[in-house]
């Protein structure tokens, strides 16, 4: 497996709280992507962060990338019940940008 310490399997929080999900990988990647999958849907990209970037923001989302420790995080501030979903990180599997491989994901439940 190319994945290190897996993401937390499941998180349950209250609406309004902030949350951070982590992802670590074993092989160098040119990009880390974060996806969200809502029930009954295919995954949809949230953020893409490249190996020369340390941080990327999009609205309430913030992704970080630490290439030295081969880890990435996704933070959501002021969560909403609609943030309930499974969150995946994805890398290129050490192929230099030819594959997109996904971790096992973190299930986030945000209660109103």
């Amino acid at each position: 497996s190319q994945w290190g310490e897996e993401n937390l399997q499941a998180l349950s929080i209250q609406e309004g709280e902030d949350v951070t999900m982590n992802c670590s990988y074993k092989t160098y990647t040119t990009v880390v992507q974060w996806y969200r999958q809502k029930s009954g849907k295919g995954p949809a990209q949230l953020i893409l962060i490249r190996s020369n970037e340390r941080e990327k923001r999009s609205g309430r989302l913030r992704a970080t990338l630490d290439t030295s420790s081969q880890s990435s995080s996704l933070s959501i501030t002021g969560t909403l019940a609609t943030d309930t979903a499974v969150y995946f990180c994805a890398t290129d599997g050490g192929t230099g940008g030819y594959k997109v491989v996904f971790g096992s994901g973190t299930r986030l439940l945000v209660s109103p």
Binding site: Y35, G42, Q45, K99, V100, S104
Partner: protein
Amino acid sequence: EAAVTQSPRNKVTVTGGNVTLSCRQTNSHNYMYWYRQDTGHGLRLIHYSYGAGNLQIGDVPDGYKATRTTQEDFFLLLELASPSQTSLYFCASSPGGDTEVFFGKGTRLTVV
């Protein structure tokens, strides 16, 4: 909005049967992917392709064949289906391997 269409959306087949899952993208993307999704495993890459006539082996290829007949069409073939191939299958496309991946709505396959 990138469009990836999978058919059928649901399929039931018997052990030992032949199944073909179809995927068409109208995004003019070079890359196409087939994933399977099972509880606890996230999305696992079966096969992928850089373009018409090209095929690359993914991380869980055993029991699957794939063919990319055109830029738009990517097929996944199960020639001797087994119950272990019961899963939710996603097709996806992207402009490049290090860019956003756009997913179809998935095909739920049950092998009885």
